[in-house]
Symmetry: C2
Subunit: 351 residues, 2 copies
């Protein structure tokens, strides 16, 4: 076998010490320092501190839910939040929409060389605070660094594990004719908040992202409405319109929305009109759509309105047996228009 006499190795990169450097992705001393100084103090818990190849976590037997999402929002920070809030809320909400109680998260970071540590630290602070508030632990993680110009500041993947509950399995195929369609709050805030800062628009009143943990709302629906909740979906990328189209397609039913009752905040409506956008297609990060048995709708509405994030909840339509797979909007004058799924992007890089 060959000899292993040592050869020269790359010197420690010089330059800015308040930014991410390529060496931070090396798996060597700089990586260890990045973890020790920036990540562990924020997320530290018994699982993560072990720094193994993964985390051992307890689960009850039966079934768990696994959900993954990568966040690539541009810019990283926007009115009302940053990519760190999204990365926690997005995956926590996906678990909640499956009916599960979110329990554990993994976090995978792609950092661009040159990312200022102060930006990164604000994002990590937001993630840590959001995780704590949601009662989930970040139990394992990974950081990679790519050279300048090969990423856009930071991408974050979170993958979550949630615990299911007996008798509560909402899912897109559960929609049935007669179901009431509810939204938990006003539409379009996240998309328009990101759009405003990205394009340098200043609207009359600032629009804040609605990024929020929706698991408590789902918990309320589970315990107080139960199996009468047929479908839950968070209305993120593609907005409420895309979520409803997916559900209509999956369940083979039609959905009717009533114009005039869909809650859209004034500033969002004004900004959308200015930009030629339709709020039904604008991304939300703190709004869920619920399909509920008609008789249980008043109670579901009451449950949702009991939470700050659900204060603006409304019944916006119903499931019908007609026009299978289609979503239509009933306008004030008795006409209808089809709310189709968009082919491509209304607003790219929104989450």
């Amino acid at each position: 076998m060959a000899s292993l006499a040592s050869g020269p190795v790359c010197p420690l990169p010089r330059g800015d010490h308040d930014r991410v450097q390529l060496g931070h992705g090396s798996g060597g001393k700089m990586s260890a320092r990045l973890l020790r100084e920036h990540f562990l103090p924020r997320f530290g818990n018994a699982h993560l501190d072990r720094l193994g190849d993964g985390a051992v976590v307890p689960v009850e037997g039966g079934e768990i839910v696994l959900s993954t999402d990568t966040f690539v929002v541009s810019p990283l920070e926007f009115p009302g939040g940053n990519i760190g809030h999204l990365a926690v809320h997005g995956t926590v909400n996906d678990l909640a929409m499956m009916g599960a109680t979110p329990r554990y998260l993994s976090a995978g970071f792609v950092l661009e060389e040159g990312l200022p540590f102060d930006v990164m630290d604000r994002i990590l602070d937001a993630m840590a605070a959001a995780a704590t508030a949601a009662g989930v632990a970040v139990v394992t993680g990974d950081t990679k660094v790519v050279d300048r110009g090969k990423a856009d500041g930071m991408f974050v993947n979170t993958t979550g594990v949630g615990i299911l509950h007996d008798g509560f399995r909402p899912g897109p195929t559960g929609a049935r004719p007669g179901d009431a369609v509810l939204v938990s709050g006003p539409l379009g805030r996240h998309g328009m908040a990101v759009m405003a800062v990205r394009e340098g628009f200043s609207f009359e009143s600032e629009i804040l992202s609605d990024t929020a943990n929706l698991a408590p709302l789902v918990d309320g629906l589970r315990t107080r409405v139960g199996a009468a909740v047929h479908v839950l979906r968070d209305a993120t990328r593609g907005g409420v319109a895309s979520a409803l189209n997916e559900i209509a397609g999956a369940a083979g039913v039609g959905v009717e929305l009533d114009d005039g009752v869909v809650p859209v905040p004034g500033p969002v409506q004004a900004a959308c009109e200015m930009l030629g956008l339709d709020p039904l297609y604008v991304a939300n990060e703190g709004v869920l759509v619920a399909f509920v048995e008609a008789g249980a709708a008043p109670r579901a509405l009451e449950v949702l309105r009991g939470f700050p994030e659900g204060a603006g909840a409304a019944v916006v339509g119903r499931v019908v047996a007609e026009h299978e797979g289609m979503v239509v909007l009933r306008t004030g004058l008795g006409g209808t228009r089809v709310v189709d799924m968009l082919p491509g992007d209304q607003l790219p890089r929104i989450c």
Copy 2:
């Protein structure tokens, strides 16, 4: 509430139809088509086909292992494999090193606008084949698209769930003085294979990446050597040197390597000498380090050598009570040199 009369929306992007476009990340029809045409036919299974916000998977009660890794290797394809092989093997191996049997994977993709579909499809084919061979199912996924120049072709995160076994919990703190240190095969192939193609070097004989699923080797060690296996670690980023330093630090022990018995293929040794690199620090993607009770070392070696990936397994050193936290190499002439952890990068973007 405001009216929702429809405004204009962006037209379907025109241009290359054999490449990823921004609209593929929209959550609209193009996203659905990308999934239907490229992802589902390869990974399709009952969990994934449901297209929910996540996947419901059965687990036995007790403890599971969760592990995450993001892959940013450049270039995406290299002699012996591509990022798809790494994305499956990397996470499967991390689970295996914790003593777990890999069971489920999530997959999160960041695609750069303009990525040719044929490249993407080769990578997805590799992922699917590697997952099938490893007996793991890709049960949930996510795709995002970023604008040209904001990523480097494709980044892939995989997060895995593994099932633990009673009485088998190898971990870095388990190293004890007297343990034999084994490696499962020759060092440095992955790093030098990537380096060669990236830098346009052509070595005398082509070096292929060693990317491989190590779970069967661990399964063999678990069933035939059992609790005498104290530590398992795959020697990826930072190579065997970094893995040993981490273990020595975690367990508060010293590690002694014997020069001349560490297996390094001739072409890797020659390439390293040419480039001034030390094979101990070069990344492997199919080599594990095992710390085993001295008395059980012959059996562990026999087990490893029973697998093609372990044919070159060797005992390369031992754990000592001296020089706590340090790794030293005993040279042929009776001298020693410290095998420290590198500060920064020897080879960036290797996995």
